[in-house]
């Protein structure tokens, strides 16, 4: 017998599992204790402060506050829509080979990014000093009649936002590989078709996270519109505090609403990001909801045999 190699497979003995003593993370315990101690101390300080916490629940769903929160939400959404639409246009103009459009875009961004948004709001508020009469040909009125607080806030916040959004969109467009444009052109698609069908959908992945950031900023920046008499959350809170004498308490109420709105939007953003991640990673991680459902299912399947017994 020349072939001495044993062809029979080795009996499958399960390998001995490693049972090692894990590394001790003493630092984590120490820092955890420090953090808890600090939180407790701050908590004690706040609870001993001369703040009448008991009025906060009373005003949380006050009619004026709820109306103010609603105004904050819709002015933010409208200003953001204006900002995104105008921002995309400005970004495309900025990247255009046409020197007129790219220069116009450059100056727009230069001005609206370079001056405080509060000043811009006040300028729109006083636009009647420059154009006392609005004459669109088919429509003519005094400017002071036209520029309601809502329109003033919308223009002031939206046009300012457009300058920031255009830079975000530009970064997104430039992040898409040039080969994509070439492939699209080689297929006979025009510049516009390439932008709409190929470039922007891919740029969205880069555009969305900072845009979410911008929107959350907008929810809070919209409080500046109280200077132009917009009845948003801060204005309403201030109005109430001037009669109820609960000044700081009303700001706490406003903060709770801001936190609520930003939390809701963070969740929305998470799902929008997933939508535009299509094709980029082989398997998307499950959403919290899917994870919960899966865990419940697993739990259920563990329990069932016991029930059967």
């Amino acid at each position: 017998m020349t072939d001495t190699v044993d062809k029979t497979p080795a009996p499958s003995v399960p390998p001995e599992q490693i049972k090692a003593i894990p590394v001790r993370h003493y630092g984590r315990w120490v820092s955890g204790v420090v953090v808890v101690a600090l939180v407790v101390l701050i908590g004690i300080a706040f609870s001993n402060a001369k703040i009448n916490y008991s009025v906060i629940p009373d005003y949380l769903f006050d009619q004026g506050i709820v109306a103010g929160a609603w105004t904050t939400l819709y002015i933010s959404v409208l200003a953001m829509v204006l900002g995104v639409v105008l921002g995309v246009i400005l970004a495309v103009m900025r990247l255009s080979s046409n020197p007129v459009t790219s220069t116009v875009s450059w100056f727009y961004i230069w001005f609206f990014r370079g001056t405080p948004v509060l000043v811009q709001l006040l300028l729109w508020y006083n636009i009647a000093l420059v154009f006392p009469i609005l004459n669109l040909g088919f429509y003519k009125d005094e400017m002071n009649q036209v520029m309601t607080p809502v329109l003033t806030a919308l223009l002031g916040l939206g046009l300012n936002e457009a300058a920031y959004m255009s830079e975000i969109v530009r970064a997104g467009i430039q992040s898409v590989d040039e080969g994509q444009t070439e492939a699209s052109h080689a297929l006979g698609m025009t510049q516009g078709q390439t932008l709409r069908r190929v470039i922007l959908p891919q740029a969205m992945r880069v555009i969305i996270p900072p845009t979410g950031n911008e929107f959350i900023n907008m929810l809070k920046t919209s409080s500046l519109a109280y200077a132009v008499q917009l009845p948003e959350l801060i204005k309403k809170a201030t109005d109430i505090s001037s009669t109820s004498l609960a000044v700081v308490e009303m700001y706490f109420v406003a903060c709770i609403w801001y936190l609520f709105l930003t939390t809701i939007f963070s969740i929305v953003q998470y799902y929008i990001e997933r939508r535009y991640a299509r094709g980029s990673s082989r398997n998307l991680p499950p959403t919290p909801l899917q994870r919960l459902r899966k865990n419940l299912a697993r739990w259920g399947s563990f329990r069932r045999p016991e029930v059967a017994r």
Partner: protein
């Protein structure tokens, strides 16, 4: 297997499909193409070889006007590429007119350049719907047939990131064919692939050649050039050094530069 022949637009005459007359191309101070003269006949498989930086990819990109030529004349199917001539004056074509010229010229890139946000099927359907205004049903039917033809019918719903390099390149070929081009340009289609995946792409290209497609192929695959090519051009430093039938050039090169290049790659 169904033939691709019905997706090939027959050339309008027996005249050359591509004709280059003294084509030059410069990027700033660097002179890439220094007077290229050549003719590609209909139904011909025309291979371009040469060291990197010799200008072969640049020349290919000039044919569908991804690059503008600096001097000379370049014709595809009898039409000047990128310009219109009236008397002795040249007028630049508008963006839409350039796009219209490119419709009939398919291009396959070294790095595939599939649209990553679309499935394989959507990649192939996109241009016919957007450019030719085809109905979704018509485009889908042809796209599915082309994917079947390149052996990826069962991968239609996959995104490019879920496909291997060879599969992606075959989808890219199907995408170019969906526009029913009369000329196909291949820019080093197998250079970015793992060696074991090269064969599947070359097989598809060989089938395409057998179906009578006019093809210009920039390649380092000398075996493919010898077996499938009808003409071969060796380029170096922006000029055509040697041309002829692939068998002759590859086995019996006349020029020293060709000899030394081939001795390194064969």
């Amino acid at each position: 297997m169904s033939s691709l022949a019905k997706d090939i637009t027959p050339p309008s005459s027996g005249a050359p499909m591509v004709k280059a007359e003294g084509v030059h191309k410069s990027f700033g101070l660097s002179h890439i193409l220094k007077g290229i003269d050549l003719e590609v006949l209909p139904r011909e498989v025309f291979c371009l070889i040469g060291p990197s930086g010799s200008g072969k990819s640049t020349f290919l990109r000039c044919i569908n006007h991804l690059e503008k030529i600096s001097a000379g004349r370049l014709y595809v199917d009898g039409h000047l590429v990128g310009y219109r001539q009236h008397g002795d004056k040249l007028y630049e074509l508008k963006e839409k007119e350039v796009a219209a010229q490119r419709r009939d010229i398919g291009m396959v890139f070294q790095r595939f350049n599939l649209f990553p946000h679309m499935t394989a099927l959507e990649n192939v359907m996109e241009a016919p719907i957007q450019v030719k205004r085809e109905s979704r049903a018509t485009a889908r039917e042809r796209a599915q047939r082309l994917l079947d033809r390149v052996g990826l019918g069962d991968r239609a719903g996959h995104y490019p990131s879920q496909l291997s390099g060879g599969q992606q390149q075959r989808v890219a070929i199907a995408r170019a064919l969906a526009m029913q081009p009369k000329l196909m340009l291949f820019d080093e289609p197998t250079s970015a692939l793992d060696p074991e995946l090269v064969g599947e792409v070359l097989d598809v290209m060989r089938d395409l050649a057998e179906d009578g497609m006019t093809m210009i192929v920039v390649t380092h695959e000398m075996g493919f050039a010898r077996e499938v090519g009808d003409s071969l051009v060796f380029m170096d430093d922006g000029v055509v050094v040697e041309s002829g039938h692939p068998r002759d050039v590859l086995t019996n090169p006349q020029h020293d530069r060709t000899k030394s290049f081939l001795s390194k790659v064969l």
